[in-house]
């Protein structure tokens, strides 16, 4: 990208400031060219691609199951959500149904993931605006969630736990007790964060009225997630286009109309509480026994015991892990509600064991498009608040 910004009219006194790519508040490697008139931003041009790793191209060279591990590495604060959207798309392509037990476990895990992602957001957003303590508290609780993931999936972050046709492994005994301990502790911890920030004069001064965007503009720029809901549009995929049995859960979609950084903060805090409600319901819904993978010979790996005792299962096992499986030709586009907004996976098959095309509609990428709209005309100190409030993950932006 060119290093010059087209100067606005009559802008002889403006200067161009290069922010990033190594700026701590860009949450990764994002570069923004800012044209400043004194302390006011006249024009902002984001420059991305520093973390582009060609995940979509790599997926085309792997079998459908192998590509799951790549999805973890896109939005590294929401790996389970990425696994989920990719698996849902492939499952839709294959036309297979997932056992209820696996669906509820998926819901429980992605809601925990949403809490952990919002915790990272809250902590880093607060530290950007000068509140150090919140960061330490948020990471303390996030650690508990990551410990649960490690206990269940064997990995803290790159879990690859959700697989095509169900889940990777049976969760270990006693995992629900750990989840319960966490969700019993969490509401009072959220109260703690709120007591540090919600009424804090500095926090209000830094966030209230900053980064306003109208609902019409937000929709026109394809924004989704908490940013759109703070603008007064109750757009949530879990309610509008339910997946993975979300229609059986009772929860509210927090909506506000102030559409500034403070409003988005309040939305995310409220969402953490709603997620706790969903986790609690999922815990009571998950049957203690039952399959975690669907019966689909040739697509889903057979149980270990069957593979050791039945000839047919052994052959399927061998075929799945050597050549993979071939969905019928066609396309599937599935969207889920990630912590950052609408996360979509588009998978096209040409009838071969490798996908013809995998595309991710990443919420960070598309929400970032509205950044110039949020910061133009604002002060330079508000740029940091606005970047934080969109909640971007650069791995998700660049893929």
């Amino acid at each position: 990208m060119s290093t010059t910004v087209e100067t606005a009219t009559g802008a002889a006194k403006t200067m161009v400031l290069n922010m990033g790519p190594q700026h701590p508040s860009t949450h990764g490697v994002l570069r923004i060219l800012l044209e400043l008139d004194g302390e006011t931003v006249v024009k902002a041009v984001p420059d991305l691609g520093y973390l582009h790793t060609g995940i979509e191209k790599s997926c085309e060279d792997k079998t459908y199951s192998q590509a799951i591990t790549l999805t973890d590495r896109m939005d590294y604060l929401n790996p389970l959500g990425n696994n989920l959207v990719y698996c849902l798309a492939v499952e839709k392509l294959l036309g297979i149904e997932i056992p209820k037990r696996a669906q509820y476990i998926r819901v429980l895990l992605v809601e925990l993931q949403r809490i952990s992602s919002h915790l990272v957001w809250l902590g880093t957003h607060a530290i950007d605006l000068g509140a150090m303590t919140v960061f330490l508290y948020c990471f303390r609780e996030r650690e508990e969630i990551l410990k649960i993931f490690e206990f269940v999936a064997g990995q803290r972050m790159m879990t690859s736990y959700i697989r095509i046709g169900g889940l990777a492994l049976e969760p270990p005994t006693g995992w629900l007790q750990r989840v319960e301990k966490f969700i019993n502790m969490m509401p009072s911890r959220i109260d703690d964060y709120e007591s540090l920030l919600t009424g804090n004069r500095i926090w209000i001064g830094r966030t209230k009225g900053i980064g306003y965007i109208s609902a019409e503009d937000a929709i026109a720029l394809s924004m989704t997630g908490p940013t759109l809901r703070a603008a007064g549009v109750a757009y949530d995929n879990r309610k509008l286009f339910p997946y993975s049995s979300y229609e059986e859960f009772e929860f509210d979609v927090p909506v506000r109309t102030d559409s500034d950084c403070f409003g988005r903060y309040m939305i995310r805090v409220a969402e953490m509480r709603e997620s706790l409600k969903i986790v609690r319901q999922a815990m009571s819904k998950i049957p203690s026994e039952g399959p975690i993978r669907t019966e689909a010979p040739g697509i889903v790996p057979p149980e270990r015991e069957k593979m050791k005792t039945e000839m047919e299962a052994l052959i399927y096992h061998f075929k799945i892990f050597t050549e993979g499986f071939s969905p019928p030709p066609g396309e599937a586009f599935v969207t889920v509600e990630s912590p950052r907004g609408e996360l979509g996976a588009f998978v096209a098959s040409d009838g071969s064991p490798k996908p013809l095309r995998v595309h991710f509609r990443s919420p960070s990428f598309i929400n970032l498009q509205a950044l110039p709209k949020l910061i133009e005309g604002q002060l330079i100190s508000d740029v940091i608040a606005c970047i934080g409030t969109i909640d971007i993950v650069l791995g998700d932006v660049d893929r």
Binding site: M1, S2, L48, G49, H52, G54, E56, K57, S58, E60, D61, K92, L93, G95, I219, A220, L221, S222, M223, T224, V233, Y235, L240, F241, G330, E331, A332, F333, T335, E342, G344, F346, A348, D350, L356, R357, H359, R361, F365, I366, L368, Q369, D398, R399
Partner: protein, 173 residues
């Protein structure tokens, strides 16, 4: 659910057909998803119709992406995923483009959110969008050669090692 989807799909197809008899060249349905194939020259007017028609109200362009079916012709397939938030419906608009004339009207005038999505497609597939306000590469560096998501671009290694070599030996300005 499926019945409902196909009913909704009919709403879109009927509305577009009653507006203009030859707006749609093909309709297909797979796994409950409706795909409406339109000709390249009517894409923008159909998109405007989808956006503004009171019976359709597709106000959110959620995604735009491309599929390369090389060596088939027309090789490129552009897919636009539209969502109507008030009507809770999704639909996919599709345009097919041939490899030697991969140019199509930009949809930025209809949905400003198409801006980066089209830049990404331009960057990775080399499709040109007419009337796009800012058609530059977005993920790759400006001086990148080739379009990586095309099927004739290798997954690993250099496409043309001698060309790459001259690039790195030529004097820098």
């Amino acid at each position: 659910m499926t019945e409902n989807t196909s009913q909704n799909a009919n709403v879109v197809v009927d509305a577009l057909r009653s507006w203009s008899a030859n707006a749609i060249s093909e309709v297909s349905e797979f796994r409950g998803e409706t795909t409406i194939v339109v000709a390249r020259n009517v894409l923008r007017t159909v998109a405007e119709r989808c956006h503004q028609d009171e019976k359709l109200q597709f106000n959110l362009l959620t995604d735009a992406t491309c599929v390369d079916r090389f060596p088939m012709e027309p090789r490129f397939e552009l897919n636009y995923h539209l969502v109507s938030i008030p009507r809770r419906q999704k639909v996919r608009l599709r345009v097919r483009l041939s490899g030697d004339d991969a140019v199509v009207d930009s949809l930025v005038p209809v949905w400003p959110g198409a801006n980066w999505l089209e830049r990404e497609i331009f960057d990775l597939f080399g499709i040109r969008f007419t009337d796009h306000p800012d058609l530059r590469r977005i993920l790759l560096p400006d001086d990148w050669e080739g379009y990586p998501l095309r099927k004739d671009y290798p997954v690993e290694g250099y496409r043309d090692i001698s060309a790459i070599a001259t690039r790195y030996t030529r004097p820098r300005p």
